[in-house]
């Protein structure tokens, strides 16, 4: 049976309309208008044990709302949701023992206290037996390389250091499920890589199922075998990165450096995206023209110095997808 089943989940928020200005504020005392925001409009997906799924979408698409429903914080208006056989908001206490959560923009560590104190509090809150706690803690410390950070008050940690500690904190009770809501937000390149490595490792070695929401497409490309794209409260696409690519555009990019500037450049089977001095960017669809033929045509016609082919960057794919759906 699937570990997570979500069927036709709906959630709306009522937001009071507040127009600017004094007069409108006075009116608001008597009569208040509400806007209904449809955060989720029928979301369905299933997750199997051990999957590492990227959950992406533009700001306000409903990513965090989904994660909050899955973690038992929010109650949806309608729809079905079961996580390891439990309904998160109905069996909240039993349910949350199975999950670890990291909200990248918030902290679960105690600001004024050393990290170790927060860990010990979590140990007691989750009622983790001492022996298990010690082994899990030591293991996490080793993988994340945070042994020197444990007796530092959290306020003195850098964001990257803190995020590593947050990850450790969310896994102390060895949950089979981990929800990561933008864990790499604001991190520098080195910390990002460390966080990614860690996510990959616990997914592979411990079989932890991971749902990862992010805006960083490198995260997705580096980690996720499956990508769910959400926009305006609906699921737009669900599949592997390759499927997502093919779904949006099969084009690849070809960048060519010439020996000299070229005027009136054109080549059959490829479209010129950008022409700047000696550098030309082309887009072509490998189903219509094989890369080998395209390249040999190029060499025949023009003084090519160097060239390389790449997949359309995932950012562009996503931007295109959002654009197509006008979101």
């Amino acid at each position: 049976m699937s570990q997570i089943i979500v069927e036709n989940l709906m959630k709306t928020f009522k937001v009071a309309k507040r127009k600017p200005g004094l007069w409108n504020a006075v009116q608001g005392l008597v009569h208040r208008e509400y806007n209904t925001v449809h955060a989720l409009e029928g979301i369905s997906f299933k997750l199997e044990e051990g999957e590492l799924v990227g959950y992406i979408g533009p700001n306000g698409a409903g990513k965090s709302t989904t994660v909050k429903i899955l973690s038992g914080i929010l109650v949806p208006d309608s729809g079905r949701c079961e996580v390891m056989g439990k309904v998160p908001w109905k069996q909240r206490i039993d349910h949350v023992k199975n999950i670890g959560v990291v909200f990248g923009q918030r902290s679960q560590l105690w600001w004024d206290l050393p990290v170790e104190d927060s860990f010990q509090l979590l140990r007691d809150i989750y009622n983790i037996p001492h022996q298990n706690y010690k082994s899990t803690r030591d293991e996490l410390i080793e993988i994340l390389n945070i042994s020197t950070l444990l007796d530092v008050p959290v306020r003195q940690l850098s964001l990257g250091q803190r995020m590593k500690c947050e990850l450790a904190a969310s896994l102390l009770h060895t949950p089979p499920l981990l929800f990561l809501d933008e864990p790499t937000i604001g991190l520098d390149a080195v910390s990002k890589l460390a966080v990614r490595d860690f996510i990959k490792k616990i997914n592979k070695e411990r079989g932890v199922t991971v749902i990862l929401t992010t805006h960083d497409m490198d995260d997705i490309e580096a980690l996720c075998s499956r990508v769910v794209v959400i926009g305006r409260g609906k699921i737009l696409s669900d599949g592997t990165i390759e499927e997502l690519r093919n779904h949006v555009s099969k084009e690849r990019k070809l960048t060519v450096h010439m020996d000299m500037p070229i005027d009136n450049f054109s080549i059959p089977g490829a479209r010129v995206v950008e022409l700047e001095g000696q550098q030309i960017s082309l887009a072509f669809n490998p189903e219509y023209i094989s890369p080998a033929i395209l390249i040999s045509n190029l060499y025949e016609k023009y003084p090519v110095k160097d060239l390389f082919i790449e997949n359309t960057p995932i950012e562009e794919i996503i931007a295109k997808l959002y654009g197509e759906l006008r979101i």
Binding site: S71, I73, I93, D94, V101, R106, L113, D117, L121
Partner: protein, 267 residues
């Protein structure tokens, strides 16, 4: 249970760290103690009638209430309230514990740690260092002292139940703000923090006795000074406990109502 105790311990540790705040608190609480004592000196000197509470009883009452000011539930847990306003409370909601109890243990720490830090120096000054006219008295008797201890325990529970209501109403962003401004005035007045309750008009006495607020300052202080007979501890402690239970039930009801509609602020 372990989790709640652990949280209580951690909060307690943290609050004990605020030494400068404690020192400042001791100074202001002493200063206001003097102001209140002097007001009542003037009051007792200008009246020849027999008052419902003796002069010595009043001064002791004032020093007790000043020293134990931290027990007065006039606010919520500011850290928790910030968490609610910013949405950090999301983390509290994904812990396998009862939220009401979790916040109650925070309230216990909030009410005990700073109070302990401040009460001891104030007691030392008021009991031992002040000249007779200004000084706080010793407990009326051993049994009075015992009754005071018991009713202080009741006061602590009552205070934490009210503190938790302050915490919970913060979940109603706008309306909660109004309540957290309005309620303290009622609590401060009817607990006996400004004027000892025996000095209130006769017709109010019956009401004040059965309101929950008298159990926080007035009743313990009067047990201490012997104004209330120690034998009454059973019935008065019973009232404190009944109110505590009612306020806890009310807090739990408010919380469960709000949990269904919760909106986590910001992203």
């Amino acid at each position: 249970m372990k989790g709640y105790i652990s949280l209580l311990r951690l909060r307690f540790m943290l609050l004990l760290q605020y030494r400068i705040a404690a020192f400042a608190g001791v100074c202001t609480q002493l200063l206001f103690g003097f102001v209140r004592v002097m007001v009542f000196i003037a009051f007792y000197q200008s009246t020849s009638k027999v008052q419902p509470i003796s002069y010595e009883g009043t001064i002791t009452y004032i020093w007790l209430s000043q020293a134990l000011l931290g027990l007065l539930p006039w606010n919520g847990d500011s850290e928790l309230q910030t968490m609610i306003r910013t949405g950090n409370v999301a983390y509290e909601l994904c812990r396998p514990v009862d939220i009401y109890n979790l916040w109650f243990s925070r309230a216990v720490a909030q009410r005990t740690a700073p109070t302990l830090l401040r009460a001891i120096p104030i007691f030392i000054v008021a009991l031992l260092l002040l000249p007779g006219k200004y000084a706080m008295g010793y407990p009326h008797s051993c049994t009075s002292f015992l009754a005071w201890i018991i009713s202080m325990f009741g006061a602590l529970l009552l205070s934490c139940a009210i503190t938790n209501i302050f915490n919970i109403v913060t979940l109603w962003t706008v309306a909660g703000d109004g309540i957290t401004r309005l309620l303290p005035a009622v609590i401060i007045l009817f607990s006996g923090m400004i004027v000892p309750l025996p000095l209130f008009p006769q017709w109010m006495q019956g009401i004040l006795k059965y309101l929950p607020f008298s159990g926080i300052v007035d009743i313990p202080a009067r047990f201490y000074s012997g104004h209330i007979q120690p034998s009454q501890i059973v019935s008065l402690f019973f009232i404190q406990i009944i109110w505590t239970i009612l306020l806890i039930l009310m807090g739990k009801w408010l919380l469960s109502r709000k949990m269904k509609l919760i909106v986590v602020q910001g992203g």
